[in-house]
């Protein structure tokens, strides 16, 4: 990653955060906006999981990551701590690649 890309990302990320507090007038949010707000991150996170598990450069690929994510999903569903979920996924992928 270049420094230019990194600084551009930082600038955009800050602009998003500051837009409301710096520009908006005080007031309450409309209920419809609240509903979208509550769910907004969810489809994005789900899409990121799919892309990072199956994307092989503009085509779907199935490799050790799929088994790793199955393990991660099971542990997350059982409410395991964050580090346990992530480390178990890494261990699963590493193990499958070693054999």
């Amino acid at each position: 990653m270049t420094w230019t890309a990194l600084i551009a990302l930082a600038a955009c990320a800050y602009a998003f955060k500051a837009a409301g507090p710096v520009l908006a007038r005080q007031g309450e949010l409309r209920p419809a906006v609240e509903q979208v707000l509550a769910l907004l991150a969810i489809p994005i996170l789900a899409a990121v999981v799919v892309v990072q598990t199956l994307d092989g450069g503009e085509r779907l690929t199935i490799d050790a990551r799929v088994a790793a994510i199955a393990v991660a999903a099971l542990l997350a569903w059982r409410r395991a701590p964050f580090l346990v979920v992530v480390l178990a996924a890494a261990a699963t992928a590493a193990l499958l690649r070693a054999i």
Binding site: A5, P21, V36, I42, V51, E58, R65, A89, A93
Partner: protein, 242 residues
């Protein structure tokens, strides 16, 4: 960075207690996020970023899911520009949080601009779980500052630990990225409409990966919020009637 599930701070029978319990919750969330920061530091260095770049990203970008997304694309061999797309989509939700926090943030325009850097999932959720604006502002600052400190300490620790770790694929580090997002997603699935939104987002990404340029599947997947909202309204209507 919603690594911890945020519960509204429990109403206490004592008058002085709520303030202390907010501080305690903020510290607990900060420490948990620190552990998450360590894994970010390790992965970022494994993806090829320097220790300095990794630390600067945590200081300046300071929004965990975006950072994981950017580094994840770099790790899978993507260009820097391709890495920006999913990171920006994820960072975009902070804009909505910013507008949601307008009634809560205090001070001059400059003070509000400085506080804006602390706008992330957890600080917003903690602020919005308070009853009055003054308590909400205190909860926002306590949570935001606690996470800022621990996230950056964790990142630096992880980046230093991760230097010279070896082949990231053999260690399964590339599987850690989607696993991190699974861990972020799962506590949020209990909200009404959330499972529908998650399935819709995943399906959109699945269909678009073979045909769309990098970053686009995630961008379009935002539309999954629409069936999610519709489903949550059906749940609300059903509870009203029943």
């Amino acid at each position: 960075m919603s690594v911890t599930q945020i519960r509204p701070v429990e109403a206490s029978t004592e008058r002085a207690a709520p303030e202390r319990s907010v501080t305690r919750a903020a510290l607990a969330i900060g420490v948990a996020t620190g552990a998450y920061g360590v894994s970010f530091g390790v992965l970022s260095v494994a993806a090829g970023l320097s220790v300095a770049q990794t630390s600067v990203m945590s200081l300046l970008v300071f929004t965990g899911a975006s950072q994981f997304a950017a580094v994840g694309v770099i790790a899978s061999g993507g260009a820097a520009l391709a890495a920006l797309a999913p990171a920006l989509v994820l960072a975009g939700r902070n804009a909505i949080y910013g507008f949601a926090l307008v009634p809560i943030l205090r001070g001059s325009r400059l003070a509000r601009a400085a506080q804006a850097q602390l706008i992330i999932d957890e600080s917003t959720a903690m602020a919005r779980s308070q009853d009055d604006p003054a308590a909400a502002h205190r909860a926002f600052l306590a949570t935001g500052l606690s996470i800022f400190v621990f996230w950056n300490l964790g990142t630096l620790t992880g980046a230093l630990l991760g230097t010279g770790l070896g082949d990231p694929r053999a260690l399964g580090l590339d599987a850690m990225f989607p696993a991190a997002f699974v861990a972020l997603l799962s506590p949020q699935l209990r909200k009404p409409g959330a499972p529908t939104a998650a399935v819709a987002g995943a399906l959109i990404a699945l269909v678009l990966i073979p045909v769309a340029p990098v970053g686009v599947p995630i961008l379009v997947a935002v539309a999954g919020v629409v069936p999610g909202v519709l489903a949550s309204r059906r749940v609300a209507a059903a509870t009203d009637v029943g």
